[in-house]
C-alpha cells in the first residue's frame, strides 16, 4: 500500500497547516487589532507544546497497548517517548499528533484577548493529558466508548469538536468576560484574514477527514479496494456538506439580519466541516448535504446565544464546535446508511433507534468527561497562577503587554529610534556600501 502511505504523509502535513497558519488566521482576523498577535500565538504555541507532549506520552496514553481503568485511557508510560514504536508507525503518530494540536488550539478562540501566555502554556499539557488523550483512547484507541457503543466518529466529532467546544465554554465561564463585553464594539478587525483562514481550513480538512481512513482488509488487495473507494466517499461528503453549510448560514443571516456576510460564509464553512467530521464515512451524498445544512442553520442561530447567556465565548467555540460537533455526531443516528463505508443503518434507513442511542451516548459521555476535567484544570489555574492579564493591559492591548509587539505599522511612522545607536550610525549617510 505505497499509495496509502504516501497519502498519509500528505494528509498529516495538511492537518498541520490547519493549525498553523489556518486556524491562527481564522481566529486572528476576528479579534481586535490590538490582540491579533496574541490570538495567533495561542495557536502557534499550542502546536509546539502539545506536539512535544504527544510524542512523550500522548501517543502511549491514546493508542498504547495497556488500556487502564476499564478502557478510559491507556498507560502513558508504556510507549513513553515512542519507546518500542516502529519507525513505520511514525507517520501514524504524527497524523494523530496534529489532531491533538488543533483540538487544543481550537479552545483559544473562547478566551481571546485576555489570557496570560504562561497560563495557556501550563493549561495545554494538563488539558490534553486529562481530556484529549483519554477521549481519543475511548473512541479510537480501543477504549470504553468503542467497546461499549458502536458509535461512529470518523474523524473526531466527539474527540475533537465536542471536546474543544465544551472546554472553550467552561474556560470562558471560569476566566470571565472581557472588559467591555456587551458594551464596546468588538468587531473583527480584518475579515480578509478570516476568509483566508477559513479557506485554508477547508483545504486542510481533506487531510483531516479523508486521512482518517482505517484500513481493515485481510489482504493487500482488500485494503487497496477499501482505500480506492472509501476516500472518494469521505472527500465528496466533506465537500458538499461544507458547501451546504455555507449557503445555509448565509440564508439564515439574510433572513435574520438582512445581509449575507463574509464572516457568515467563513463561519458556515467551518460549521459544515465540523459537522461532517464525524459523519463523512457514515452517510451518502444527500445525508451529507442535510448534515451541512442543519449545521449551518443551527450554528448561525447558536452563536447569538452567548449574548443571552452573558457568556463571553469570544469567537464562538461553543456555537460552532460544540453545536456543530453535536449536530454531526447525533445526525449520524438518523442519516447513517449501510451503503456508506460505516455500514450501519440509522433511523431514516430502517436501522431503528440503536445507532441514535449510541451516537447520543458518545456525545453525552464526551461532554460530561471534558466538562468535569476542564473545570478542575480551569479552577486550579485560576486559584494558583491566575489566568488573566491586568485590566489595564487588556484594555491597552494584550499584544504589547504579553509580547512587546504591535501587529500593524502600516505607514512606518511610529517614530522612535533603535537603542543603543552605534556611534558610526548616529547620522547615516547614503553611501554605495562598505566596499565602495
Amino acid at each position: 500500500m505505497d499509495g496509502y502511505y504516501a497519502w498519509m504523509i500528505v494528509a498529516t502535513a495538511l492537518v498541520l497547516m490547519m493549525t498553523t497558519p489556518a486556524l491562527a488566521l481564522f481566529y486572528g482576523g476576528m479579534t481586535r487589532s490590538k490582540s491579533v498577535l496574541n490570538m495567533m500565538m495561542m495557536s502557534y504555541v499550542a502546536m509546539a507544546v502539545v506536539g512535544i507532549v504527544y510524542v512523550l506520552w500522548g501517543w502511549s496514553e491514546s493508542f498504547g497497548p495497556t488500556s487502564l481503568a476499564g478502557g478510559l485511557f491507556a498507560d502513558p508510560f508504556t510507549l513513553f517517548g515512542l519507546k518500542d514504536v516502529a519507525w513505520g508507525s511514525y507517520v501514524a503518530v504524527c497524523f494523530q499528533l496534529t489532531f491533538a494540536v488543533i483540538t487544543a488550539a481550537l479552545i483559544s478562540g473562547a478566551i481571546a484577548d485576555r489570557v496570560k501566555l504562561s497560563s495557556w502554556v501550563v493549561f495545554l499539557p494538563l488539558w490534553v493529558t486529562l481530556c484529549y488523550f483519554p477521549l481519543a483512547h475511548m473512541v479510537w484507541g480501543g477504549g470504553w466508548i468503542s467497546t461499549h457503543l458502536a458509535a461512529q466518529d470518523y474523524a473526531g466529532g466527539t474527540v475533537v469538536h465536542i471536546n474543544a467546544g465544551v472546554a472553550g465554554g467552561v474556560l470562558a465561564l471560569i476566566i470571565g468576560r472581557r472588559v467591555g463585553f456587551m458594551r464596546d464594539p468588538m468587531k473583527p478587525h480584518n475579515l480578509t484574514l478570516t476568509m483566508i483562514g477559513a479557506g485554508l481550513l477547508w483545504f486542510g480538512w481533506y487531510g483531516f477527514n479523508v486521512g482518517s481512513i482505517v484500513l481493515t482488509g485481510d489482504t493487500a488487495a482488500a485494503n487497496t479496494e477499501q482505500f480506492m473507494t472509501e476516500t472518494g466517499v469521505t472527500f465528496l461528503n466533506t465537500t458538499v456538506a461544507t458547501m451546504a453549510a455555507m449557503l445555509a448560514w448565509l440564508a439564515m443571516e439574510r433572513v435574520m439580519h438582512g445581509k449575507a456576510t463574509s464572516l457568515g460564509a467563513a463561519s458556515g464553512i467551518v460549521a459544515g466541516l465540523v459537522a461532517i467530521t464525524p459523519s463523512c464515512g457514515a452517510v451518502g451524498v444527500v445525508g451529507a448535504i442535510t448534515i451541512g445544512a442543519v449545521a449551518g442553520v443551527a450554528c448561525a442561530y447558536a452563536v447569538g446565544l452567548k449574548f443571552k447567556l452573558d457568556l463571553d465565548d469570544s469567537l464562538d467555540v461553543v456555537g460552532v464546535h460544540l453545536v456543530g460537533g453535536v449536530v454531526g455526531t447525533v445526525l449520524i443516528g438518523f442519516l447513517s446508511t449501510s451503503a456508506a463505508p460505516g455500514g450501519i443503518d440509522g433511523l431514516f434507513y430502517g436501522g431503528g433507534l440503536t445507532s441514535l442511542g449510541h451516537q447520543a451516548g458518545a456525545a453525552g459521555i464526551s461532554i460530561v468527561w471534558t466538562g468535569v476535567f476542564t473545570t478542575l484544570i480551569g479552577l486550579a489555574i485560576k486559584y494558583t497562577i491566575g489566568w488573566r492579564v491586568t485590566e489595564d493591559d487588556e484594555v491597552d492591548g494584550i499584544d504589547f503587554a504579553e509580547h512587546g509587539e504591535s501587529a500593524y505599522d502600516l505607514d512606518g511612522r511610529s517614530g522612535g529610534v533603535r537603542t543603543p545607536i552605534p556611534a558610526a550610525h548616529v547620522k547615516t549617510p547614503a553611501t554605495e556600501g562598505a566596499l565602495a
Binding site: P185, M186, K187, K259, T261, L263, S267, F307, D316
Partner: protein, 112 residues
C-alpha cells in the same frame, strides 16, 4: 490668505480633485479621517451581534488659497461633492496669517 477645509464622502474625492485642478488649485493636503455629523453612524452585524458604528470614514481636504479665490474653491467643492443625500460633509474657511514655502522662503501668494 484663507484655509479652506472640506470633509467629503470618500468616493467623491477624485471628482473634487479634478474640478479644483481645472480651476487652478496647485496643491492640497488630503487625509483619511472619520467622524460623524447629524446623520450619526450606521449599524453593522457580525455573527448576529449588532454594533452601532459611530464614526463614518471621510476624506478631509485642506487648501490654502488667496482671499479672492477662497469663495470659488468653496463653491467648486460644494457643487462637486454634492450627492444630495445625508452625509455629504462640510466645507469651512478660516483666515491664515502667513504661508512660507520651505524650499525657498517665499511668502504668502508667492508660496502657493
Amino acid at each position: 490668505m484663507k484655509l479652506v477645509t472640506a470633509v467629503i464622502k470618500p468616493h467623491k474625492w477624485e471628482e473634487v480633485r479634478e474640478a479644483l485642478e481645472t480651476f487652478g488649485v496647485t496643491g492640497m493636503t488630503v487625509t483619511e479621517v472619520s467622524g460623524y455629523g447629524r446623520q450619526k453612524g450606521h449599524t453593522e452585524v457580525y455573527r448576529g451581534a449588532e454594533y452601532d458604528i459611530a464614526l463614518v470614514p471621510k476624506i478631509r481636504i485642506e487648501i490654502v488659497a488667496d482671499d479672492g479665490d477662497a469663495e470659488d474653491v468653496v463653491g467648486i467643492i460644494q457643487k462637486t461633492a454634492q450627492t444630495g443625500r445625508i452625509g455629504d460633509g462640510k466645507v469651512w474657511v478660516t483666515p491664515v496669517e502667513t504661508v512660507v514655502r520651505v524650499r525657498t522662503g517665499d511668502r504668502d501668494a508667492a508660496a502657493l
